[in-house]
């Protein structure tokens, strides 16, 4: 029994070698265009437009060119490899290496997919002696409502950026929780702003609260440089009393309100991700080239505290720490204009990626497949060149 003609045509098209070539060329094109556009629009925006999209429009002067996004291209490539490179490929000793190689490429695509949709990226920045049990996003914001508990801990209720990022005007979003004796109204989310005092000679475009107002700034192309602000109001459930303030991404302390005799703190902060351990920076070491102030290497000696145990680890540029599904890399240090003797901070990039090791395994599989294939070709070639002796 054969498949109906349209289905067969579709299967032929999806498994064709020509489709593979087209998709690979499209990937190369998207990479090239994205790299060029990164100069003007920044890495985050380019990733979103070219690599995390199904479709996009690339503009060349006045001309708009519709293109498939890398997500769509890789999804079709995945299907193409399964159909053409696994299912429909002629099975036999001669194609064993190719088959294995295709499996490796599929693993690579799968790793990218897992990374894109289930990983968390951020950083921990510490001066010597400081410690942290969370890492924070480079670019995403969240509203955190903090409530101090008697044992010194905090009870946190968090609203993700999606809840308020489209608040351009005065129309509020109201956040409520059965656990809180108040609702929170957020208005005028500004993705990049500074908070200024309102003096007699200062005219504010946005409302003045507690003597301050939000001054909107152009959005930076490097999205991690933006500092957001939002107007917040706490409305008590009982009595309806209203408290207002400005939440700013660089504020050092939360805005505190007292409701029902209890204190609550509200803050706009980079999205926090918990770590199952505490990392404490014991010593940050920067080695310069001899007699020059040029960094040769830098590393962080840290203590990892977890469930009552402590162990010392050194994280350096090419030696990350892998612990509990997290990978901590030595990313950078600062302040960049520090003078000799100034305290330095160390920034550790933290990644939670379930597919962290997939690329390694995929490369091993691909290498195995290629060795199998070319070894067989080599043996055949050698045999064909050897004169037969009766």
């Amino acid at each position: 029994m054969t498949a109906p003609r349209p289905l067969r045509w579709l299967l032929d098209a999806l498994s064709s070698f020509w489709l593979s070539c087209t998709l690979l060329l499209l990937l190369a094109l998207l990479t090239w265009l994205g790299t060029l556009e990164q100069v003007s629009n920044g890495l985050f925006e380019v990733q979103r437009k070219y690599f995390e999209s199904l479709f996009l429009v690339h503009r060349v002067g006045p001309v708009s060119i519709p293109l498939p996004g890398a997500t769509l291209v890789m999804a079709v490539l995945f299907l193409n490899l399964i159909l053409g490179g696994i299912v429909r490929i002629r099975k036999g000793a001669s194609t064993l290496g190719i088959l294995v190689t295709h499996v490796g490429i599929l693993m690579l695509l799968l790793a990218g997919w897992v990374k894109a949709y289930s990983s968390e990226d951020g950083h921990v920045t510490l001066f010597e002696g400081q410690s942290a049990n969370t890492f924070q996003s480079y670019n995403r914001w969240e509203l955190a409502i903090l409530q101090p508990l008697e044992d010194g801990k905090l009870r946190e209720t968090v609203a993700p950026q999606e809840d308020f990022e489209r608040l351009a005007g005065a129309s509020p979003v109201t956040l409520r929780s059965a656990e809180l004796p108040f609702t929170v109204e957020l208005t005028r989310f500004t993705p990049n702003a500074r908070v200024l005092p309102k003096g007699p000679m200062v005219k504010a475009q946005l409302p003045v609260v507690e003597g301050y107002f939000v001054d909107a700034l152009p959005v930076e192309k490097e999205i991690e440089n933006n500092v957001a602000a939002v107007y917040a109001a706490v409305v008590e459930r009982e009595g309806g009393a209203r408290h207002e303030s400005i939440l700013y991404g660089l504020s050092r302390q939360p805005w505190t309100v007292t409701v029902g005799g209890r204190e609550y703190g509200l803050e706009l902060r980079r999205e926090h991700y918990p770590m199952p351990f505490t990392v404490e920076l014991d010593d940050f070491e920067k080695q310069d080239y001899p007699r020059l102030d040029m960094p040769k290497s830098f590393s962080s000696a840290v203590t990892i505290a977890e469930a009552g145990t402590r162990r010392q680890v050194t994280i350096s540029m090419n030696e990350p720490l892998r612990q509990e599904g997290l990978v901590l890399y030595q990313a950078s240090w600062g302040p960049s204009n520090a003078r000799p003797g100034d305290p330095l901070f160390s920034t550790l990039a933290v990644v939670r990626n379930p597919a962290d090791r997939y690329p390694l395994y995929a490369c091993i599989v691909i290498a195995t497949g290629l060795v199998l294939h070319f070894a067989r070709r080599l043996v055949r070639h050698v045999r064909s060149q050897t004169p037969r002796t009766a």
Binding site: H123, V124, T125, L126, A132, N133, T134, P148, K153, L154, R155, E156, T157, A159, F164, R166, G169, S171, T174, L175, R176, S177, E179, N192, V195, P197, P200, M201, V202, K203, A204, G211, Y212, E220, E224, V227, S245, I246, Y248, L250, S251, R252, Q253, P254, W255, T256, R270, P274, R291, L292, D293, S332, W333, G334, P335, S336, N337, R339, F345, T347
Partner: protein, 406 residues
């Protein structure tokens, strides 16, 4: 062409409405349920539950002063920009009304009690973006064109808070901090003391008819500021404040003491050595100076990102210009070390040889390279042999004074 185009119209309109609705959705009034709470241990953090708005927002003082936006490493603890003001004391002029300190305003007054005129002192850690940028920011607020470096260098200097400050007096149409206000005939009198470590600004702004009568009070207030750790305070000395109504010219009456003023561009600040004359801008260079007899010695400073192509490559580029044999890696270790832009850099001395491409006047080259995190500074001094040697001390002083701005 469809035979009955209107048949699909309702569907099309519904689709368009949906698309428009989605596109125009500004996230208007919504109610959302928060997720469940969770307990966390606040490791490495001390929360103050009584922080004032000024204490909460204080970090953006750097932005206000014209510095660049927040760093990418925003999670890093920031220096307390207001620390410098902790020990300041002053005497409020009679008739003035002292206001509570606010962010960026360590001392805050209504001039002569007039709500349309104010005076305030702002202090910052660092150079707050530099002298030129702050002067021209103030001029921009008054709709005045920016001053060039040479004009700024000629503004009067006065001793204030234990160091030298620039006195400005401008008059124009006030457009406000955010550029959207309109108030004619406003006068601004201010003092700017910009140093690498700390900066202080005293600014009096208001209707010219009000400010005209408050110059003595401004002087008295400025005189009264003193920092405890400085052991006293400086009077505004003999430099007279401009007369009432004389501000519009904004012309300096007294030339700056040569060699003492901090100058800057967007990337670099420095102190010009005595006797050096600033040259016109040139591509790639932050600044060019001429010195020596006949102004035959030329010195330029350049800032490049990263390593600027590499230390050895740049030194050998200079070797090529001078027709000198190229250096090898091993030669780097033997180069003299000097202070440049706050770091230890290398100094190379090259003599003109066969095949030189540099100007015929360049018989000798002294070059200094300093590598900072993420930036490199290149200073080149060329000219007749003896004249170059005569400017070596000035070159080292110039290099030492350089600071790369963030």
């Amino acid at each position: 062409m469809p035979r009955r185009p209107l048949r699909r119209a309702p569907l099309t309109l519904a689709g368009l409405a949906l698309v428009c609705g989605l596109a125009c959705d500004d996230g208007g009034s919504r109610e959302l349920e928060l997720g469940p709470s969770h307990e966390v241990e606040p490791v490495g953090r001390t929360i103050r539950w009584d922080a004032s708005p000024a204490e909460r927002h204080g970090i953006s003082a750097q932005d206000f002063a014209g510095a660049k936006g927040a760093s990418a490493t925003a999670g890093a603890p920031a220096p307390d920009a207001l620390a410098a003001a902790e020990q300041l004391h002053w005497t409020t002029p009679p008739g003035w009304v002292e206001q509570p300190p606010a962010m960026f305003r360590d001392a805050n007054f209504l001039v002569a009690g007039d709500p349309s005129a104010e005076c305030y002192l702002s202090t910052f850690g660092g150079d707050a973006g530099g002298l030129d940028a702050n002067i021209n920011r103030w001029r921009g607020q008054l709709s005045l064109p920016p001053l060039g470096a040479a004009e700024i260098a000629e503004l009067p200097r006065v001793p204030w808070l234990g160091a030298e400050a620039v006195l400005v007096d401008f008059q124009g149409r006030w457009t406000g901090m955010t550029g959207d206000e309109q108030a004619e005939n406003r006068r601004l009198v201010g003092l700017l003391q910009v140093q690498t470590e700390h900066s202080a600004f005293l600014k009096m702004i208001g209707p010219a008819e009000v400010i005209d009568g408050q110059l003595e009070a401004f002087r008295a207030l400025a005189d009264s500021f003193h920092a405890g750790h400085e052991g006293g305070h400086d009077a505004l000395a003999e430099v007279a404040l401009p007369a009432a109504g004389a501000a519009a010219a904004a012309a300096p009456a007294t030339a700056a003491a040569a060699g003492a003023d901090v100058q800057s561009t967007a990337a670099l600040s420095w102190r010009a050595p005595t006797g050096w004359t600033r040259g016109p801008p040139k591509p790639m260079r932050e600044v060019t100076y001429f010195s020596g007899e006949g102004r035959k010695v030329e010195c330029s400073a350049t800032v490049l990102d990263g390593e600027g192509g590499g230390l050895l490559a740049n030194l050998n580029r200079w070797c090529g210009q001078m027709g000198a044999p190229p250096l090898a890696d091993a030669d780097l270790a033997g180069l003299e070390r000097v202070q440049v832009a706050g770091v230890e850099g290398v100094l190379v001395r090259l003599e003109r040889g066969a095949g030189a491409t540099a100007d015929a006047n360049a018989e000798r080259l002294l070059g200094v390279v300093g590598r900072l995190p993420g930036r490199s500074v290149f200073v080149k001094l060329t000219g007749p042999r003896d004249a170059v040697d005569g400017q070596r001390a000035a070159l080292l002083q110039f290099c030492d004074s350089l600071r790369v701005l963030p």
